[in-house]
């Protein structure tokens, strides 16, 4: 009983034929390590959580009688005397998408058994994630100083603040958890903990991280651009 270490197929035969014969004849349905399948299922469940959050937000927004604040003005910054709408959100989005790139490179390095590079790239990913969270902290404190609260704000409908703090807060918690997760796994990689077990765990961490980024794209589209 050897342990899977890389992406080589564990089906009896490669390709579709192997999958069909495994589905109808034997033990495992998906050619994936247990943890990876479990992460996929968890992400499916988490997708439902965020979908319900966004659906709830859209529902309260559409049934609103008060004026909905103009997001690109609320989230504008004055930099060097220039008025830049949504600039901070644009930077945050850029940082998060970049971190997905470094994460993908880390997965590649892990499967190539390049521990040093893997750890460096994971640390870089965690750093980008942490800077995303700190920019979010900045954004929150700016809005709070302007009088935006969960129960009301000076720009219009109270639900603007409620939905903003709830959805970005829940997403921010996901990013924070992801940063901690990345640090824990990177530490273990650097200590050689996965030399025998294989490096699928880096890819599993990556799945979670890409998911958090993908969710942000939807939040960006539905909350900031709409």
């Amino acid at each position: 009983m050897t342990i899977q270490t890389d992406k080589s197929s564990s089906y009896a035969e490669p390709g579709i034929d192997g999958m069909v014969s495994d589905w109808s004849a034997d033990k495992q349905n998906f050619d994936l390590p247990w943890g990876k399948l479990m992460m996929w299922i968890f992400l499916l469940s988490d997708t439902f959580i965020f979908s319900v959050f966004l659906t709830g937000y859209m529902n309260v927004r559409l049934s609103q009688t008060d004026n909905w604040p103009n997001a690109s003005e609320v989230f504008a910054l004055e930099i060097g005397g220039v008025h830049l709408p949504l600039i901070l959100i644009a930077i945050m989005t850029f940082v998060l998408i970049t971190s997905s790139g470094t994460m993908a490179m880390a997965v590649n390095c892990a499967y190539n058994r390049d521990r040093r590079k893997t750890v460096l790239l994971m640390a870089l990913t965690a750093l980008l994630g942490a800077s995303f969270v700190s920019m979010q902290v900045f954004e929150w404190s700016k809005l709070i100083s302007e009088g935006v609260r969960p129960w009301g704000n000076p720009f219009g409908a109270a639900q603007f603040g409620s939905a903003f703090f709830m959805i970005t807060g829940f997403h921010g918690l996901h990013v924070t958890a992801g940063v901690i997760y990345l640090i824990v796994i990177a530490r273990r990689v650097s200590r050689g903990y996965y030399e025998d077990k294989g490096y699928a765990i880096v890819e599993i961490t990556g799945l979670y991280w890409h998911f958090v980024d993908l969710v942000w794209v939807f939040i960006f589209a539905f909350f900031y651009l709409w």
Binding site: I3, Q28, W34, M38, I41, V52, D66, P150, A158
Partner: protein, 587 residues
């Protein structure tokens, strides 16, 4: 198979030795299952006592001073919530799911035993938080188990201060617990089956539990989010679900929220929840019926597709709970249609159970009695569902005792009948001893007949228009004077049924020590859980080697076979191969 869990490594490496590692911080799926089951039964008894108190008030109004109207509402709420979530969901999935999945598919344990253990501890925490609400100022919430805003968090509803917060917190913790367990169940069923155990050879119990868990993983998010939003409405004063309101002559700070949004979210969870409870019950009752009728389950493939079909459809029917909520009436047409479509796979299942019994060699053992009782209660509850699924009939019946009778028959009594069937059926495996047959039969007849004595009259009360959730009926023109005496009779039946559960508890605990040793496979069942080397199965389940599966789980009374059953791990003989008829089942 290249991925190996700790549980798949040689036995002695991880067999726990001390009492604490063996029974308390255990990662063994069987111990976790029993921990889940005991906790669930304990809170279930609390909820049973609450229902007894409710019935006392309804049957004999103005008699019991210690029940005032707010107490009554709190009893209603806690009874409903505990029974649906903390008893049925936890016992069926956390209890039987944990025990049966690895044993029936031939695995040594769940794929991630540590997470499985955490799942139980989170569940225990959620139960403690829930029970704590009985001891806080104001008591538990009395908002009704559906927790509809705006009343759930406004002054005037009992427990609007502390009770509702603890309830929402407890639900969030429960969902975390369920997610950890549920991910384990789904991954184990998909990836850790033993050699030869194809999906289409799994016993229906596993199909039911598997599909129900998938439903749970997709439906609980809606409850989680609505609990979070309502918690924010309560604690921070946001207005997700709260419209502008005047309460006691004062304008409240809320404005612009949508109470109907909560109802949509709640029932998007709530309707699949019905099937999260029902599908494992469907699966287990199929296996009990086949085993005790010594006959293969009729239409195995259709049974599987019916389970999957019901599971899929259950996500498209939620608003049939909301015909009177004020949503767009056009929705009612759509949701009535989808609701009635669900009757098709459900009817397939009922016909197949009956055809399984047809010309079977029926052994009227205690589990079989409960299983047959289930077919009755489920059919009756299902038929009243056809009434309530139609908008025009639902409108006058909405919020009457007809609804109470309907859902108690279909998702209260029916799953409980299956749970009793399952407990009696698997008791010899879990404890290694037989229960007392006489006491079991007494328990069955009291429960089964008592159920009808309770719920049949309730249908009639509903047609009269008696509203549910009312503390007392008072005197009204449209309710005849005979209704209160009917209520008294219902109460007496309910108390008898409630007390008769003591027989069950006595039987279960007495037989652990004093029952006859059950021996190996006392029912002559074919599925893998009865083929373990030890009874009850030890840690790791299978000894040194995993079993190999050669056939489906329903080879009963095969012509020409030595016994009237052939276990799943019994190789296919040459005679069978040439016979060809069974080839169909096994391929």
């Amino acid at each position: 198979m290249q991925n190996v869990a700790i549980a798949d490594q040689p036995d002695h490496l991880h067999d726990p030795q001390t009492f604490v590692t063996k029974y308390i911080y255990s990662q063994d799926h069987k111990v976790i299952a029993i921990q889940y089951a005991l906790t669930a039964v304990f809170v279930g008894l609390v909820a049973l006592v609450l229902s007894g108190l409710m019935r006392l008030q309804l049957g004999f109004p103005d008699t019991f001073d210690f029940i005032n109207p707010s107490d009554y509402l709190q009893f209603v709420t806690m009874h409903g919530m505990i029974m649906v979530i903390y008893l049925l969901t936890a016992l069926l999935l956390g209890g039987f799911g944990n025990y049966m999945i690895p044993l029936m598919i031939g695995a040594r344990d769940m794929v991630f035993p540590f997470m499985n253990m955490l799942s139980f501890w989170f569940y225990l925490l959620s139960v403690l938080v829930l029970l704590a609400s009985f001891f806080v100022p104001g008591g538990p919430t009395g908002a009704g188990w559906t927790l509809y805003p705006p009343q759930a968090i406004l002054a005037g509803t009992p427990g609007h201060d502390w009770g509702i917060i603890l309830m929402l917190a407890s639900l969030v913790i429960f969902i975390i617990a369920f997610t950890m367990g549920g991910l384990n169940y789904v991954t184990t069923v998909l990836q850790a089956r033993t050699h030869g155990m194809t999906l289409m050879r799994m016993p229906l119990t596993i199909w039911g539990i598997f599909t129900a868990t998938v439903l749970g993983l997709l439906a609980f998010p809606a409850l989680l989010v609505s609990a979070i939003m309502m918690m924010l409405d309560k604690t921070l004063g946001t207005s997700f679900f709260m419209p502008a309101l005047v309460s006691l002559g004062e304008n409240l700070d809320y404005s612009g929220g949508s109470p109907v949004l909560f109802q949509h979210l709640f029932w998007f969870f709530g309707h699949p929840e019905v099937y999260i409870v029902a599908l494992p019950a469907f699966g287990m009752v199929s296996d009990v019926l086949a085993t005790h009728a010594r006959k293969n389950i009729f239409g195995y493939r259709m049974m599987v597709w019916a389970i999957v079909g019901i599971g899929g459809l259950s996500f498209f029917v939620w608003a049939h709970h909301m015909y009177v909520s004020g949503m767009d009436p056009a929705f009612g047409f759509f949701f009535a249609t989808t609701t009635l479509i669900i009757a098709i796979p459900t009817a397939i299942k009922v016909y197949n159970w009956i055809l399984t019994l047809y010309r079977g060699n029926i052994h009227l053992t205690v589990p079989m009695l409960f299983a047959i009782g289930f077919i009755f209660t489920f059919t009756h509850g299902g038929l009243t569902g056809l009434f309530l699924g139609n908008v025009t009939i639902d409108l006058p019946l909405s919020d009457t005792y007809f609804v109470v009778a309907h859902f108690h028959m279909v998702m209260g009594v029916s799953p409980i009948m299956v749970l009793f069937a399952a407990i009696y059926h698997w008791y010899p495996l879990i404890t290694g001893r037989m229960f007392n047959e006489r006491l079991g039969k007494l328990h069955f007849w009291l429960t089964f007949l008592g159920t009808y004595a309770i719920y049949l009259p309730m249908h009639y009360l509903g047609f009269l228009g008696v509203p549910r959730r009312y503390f007392a009926m008072g005197t009204t023109d449209f309710i005849p004077e005979s209704a209160p005496s009917l209520n008294a009779s219902i109460t007496i039946s309910a108390l008898i049924v409630g007390l008769s559960q003591l027989i069950f508890l006595y039987n279960v605990f007495w037989s652990i020590r004093h029952g006859k040793p059950a021996g190996h496979n006392p029912w002559g069942a074919t599925s893998l859980e009865w083929q373990t080397p030890d009874v009850p199965p030890r840690h790791g389940n299978w000894g040194p080697e995993l079993p190999r599966v050669y056939r489906w789980a329903y080879d009963y009374a095969v012509p020409g076979a030595e016994h009237d059953f052939i276990p799943q791990n019994h190789p296919v003989s040459e005679a069978e191969q040439t016979a060809g008829e069974h080839e169909e089942h096994n391929s």
